[in-house]
Amino acid sequence: MQLAALALAIVSSPGLGAEVYLAPEKLLAESFGASPPKPSILWIAGDTRDAVERILGHSAGALRVRYWSQEGRTAWILEEIGKTEPITTGIVVDKGAIARISVLVYRESRGWEVRYAFFTDQFKGATLTALRELDRNIDGISGATLSVRALTRLARVALLLDAEVRKAKTSR
């Protein structure tokens, strides 16, 4: 997982465009309406970092992650490597449940099916169990096993971070 800022930098690079399926700005506009909130920063530290790294199965890399929050809804732009290339993914969490997951940039040679709604719709409504697993099975795509697993991990991370944000707001 890398920074949303990095994702934004990548998708806004000149010359790219072929694999950018959805611009982050459009994701935010579709998720929050005409005036999306300004981004906030969540530091990935302490127990949160441990939990994120347990889900990812490797170092979290980023020290902070940028997110957008409004009225119980948070949006995250996260990256995780599928087979060999990072998949840039936008995840919207509404009151602790996945409202939307969209592949923003896909760079792998195969497994492009993961960007379609017929795959990503499986995540809608998913929540995190006490063991920080998704509360449902996600059927994969033949030949794209690693990409499917990467998206599933990102969904779990987004739910975890969303819970951290809500916890922080409650304790204020």
Partner: protein, 409 residues
């Protein structure tokens, strides 16, 4: 008024924001009660101190953010130290491997495959993929192993729905040919249909294109080097023996392969592939058509794979030895369930293969496999299965246990 001043002083004491001033205030209070003007002065001075601390805090926050920015740049993007933008930023490696034990008459242990993947992203639209394989561990004269370039191609993204490739690539046919990392399939050894009818792993040199047609449909087409099968001997007209592996390969008669795939439902893949080669012998006028269709389904814990493949060879030579028709099929149900220590899957597979189906003699090979996979990690697998081999009269069958370990990364 005095009481009020003391209260203000008490509140200020508790705030603890300006220890020095505080000390002086206390000292003053010990000598005598401060006047209202003196208290106002102290409060104003403390307010200035607070503003200054706030400014320092803001500056510190900015420094921390800037430090984090730089650390992330160095650790995430520039592992060499962040001084230059190097190839390592765009190059990836991976690999897979599998070691097998085959019981029965075979009774041997073999590190069957060790494959290293190297990829490089030249630009966002141009990428390189490669796989270098060592088969059977030991390579050399009279040694069992081989070093093979299994993939090496450039891929170009033409639009968000169309990619083209040129180089040495895996043909779009069957279930295993493009996806054969050990943790992705059941059975220690690959099934006999995708070994003897579809000569997996099957790569050729040429150009190809992939198009996403929408609604779950996609298509692949490729023009590439063809097989060059033997025309005499026990291996005559067998596709597996005809792979030239793009090694100074005869290219007189290229082949054309096309596949249509449907993946509209998660976990479900339905596909059909056709290949035409003008001359399978690269000189003896044996035209050939391969047709293949399969279903690969993984829904929840349920697993089902079924595949049918058939070769039709033209000309008189194949017909004379009964190899003008060759076909095979298999069906493989399975069930995968999670445990606290990883997933476990059980499967059964029934396969039939006939590479000499064009004559009336019984040449059909039937194989039944039952076994299990255990994944302690999604990318690591331990396998065990038992195979029952039913061969035509005159051939020697070999019922045996197979054990394997495999990984991918």
């Amino acid at each position: 008024m005095k009481r009020k001043s003391r209260q203000q002083l008490g509140v200020l004491c508790l705030s603890g924001l300006a220890a020095g001033l505080f000390a002086s205030g206390l000292a003053l209070a010990q000598d005598r009660e401060p006047s209202q003007e003196e208290m106002w002065g102290i409060i104003q001075q403390q307010q200035r101190e607070i503003e200054e601390l706030k400014a320092r805090q803001s500056a510190t926050d900015e420094k921390v953010e800037a430090t984090a920015d730089r650390i992330e740049e160095v650790t995430v993007k520039e592992p060499a130290g962040g001084m230059v933008e190097g190839w390592w930023n765009k190059t990836s490696i991976g690999g897979y491997g599998e070691m097998h034990y085959n019981g029965g008459d075979q009774d041997q242990i073999d590190f069957h495959r060790f494959v290293l993947f190297f990829g490089h992203q030249f630009t966002d639209r141009i990428r390189f993929f490669s796989e270098l394989e060592v088969e059977h561990s030991l390579v050399g004269e009279s040694k069992p192993g081989e070093v093979e370039l299994e993939q090496a191609y450039l891929e170009f993204s033409l639009t968000d729905r169309i990619q083209s490739k040129v180089g040495l690539f895996l043909l779009p046919v069957g279930i295993l040919n493009e996806t054969h990392e050990p943790p992705t399939f059941f059975g220690v050894e690959r099934n006999i249909v995708e070994t003897n009818i579809i000569p997996t792993t099957w790569w050729e040199g040429g150009v190809g294109a992939h198009a996403d047609l929408g609604a779950g449909f996609s298509t692949d087409v490729a023009v590439h080097s063809g097989l060059n099968v033997a025309t005499t001997g026990s291996s005559a007209f067998l596709p597996r023996g005809g792979r030239q592996k793009v090694a100074n390969a005869v290219a007189e008669d290229p082949a054309l392969t096309g596949r249509m795939k449907w993946t509209r439902i998660p976990g479900v893949e339905l596909a059909v592939t056709a290949q035409y080669q003008d001359d399978l012998t690269q000189g003896q006028d044996v035209d050939a058509v391969l047709l293949e269709t399969h279903a690969s389904i993984r829904r929840g814990p349920w697993w089902l794979r079924a595949l049918y493949a058939r070769w039709e060879l033209g000309g008189d030579l194949p017909k004379a030895v009964g190899r003008d028709e060759q076909y095979g099929w298999y069906v493989e149900p399975g069930y995968v369930f999670g445990t606290a220590k990883g997933d476990v899957g059980v499967f059964a597979r029934y396969s039939q293969v006939d590479n000499t189906a064009g004559d009336t003699t019984d040449s059909k090979i039937k194989q039944t496999d039952v076994g299990l996979n255990y994944w302690p990690h999604p990318q690591v697998v331990l396998k065990a299965d038992y195979q029952f081999l039913d061969v035509p009269a005159g051939q020697i069958g070999d019922d045996r246990i197979n054990l394997g370990v495999g990984f991918m990364f």
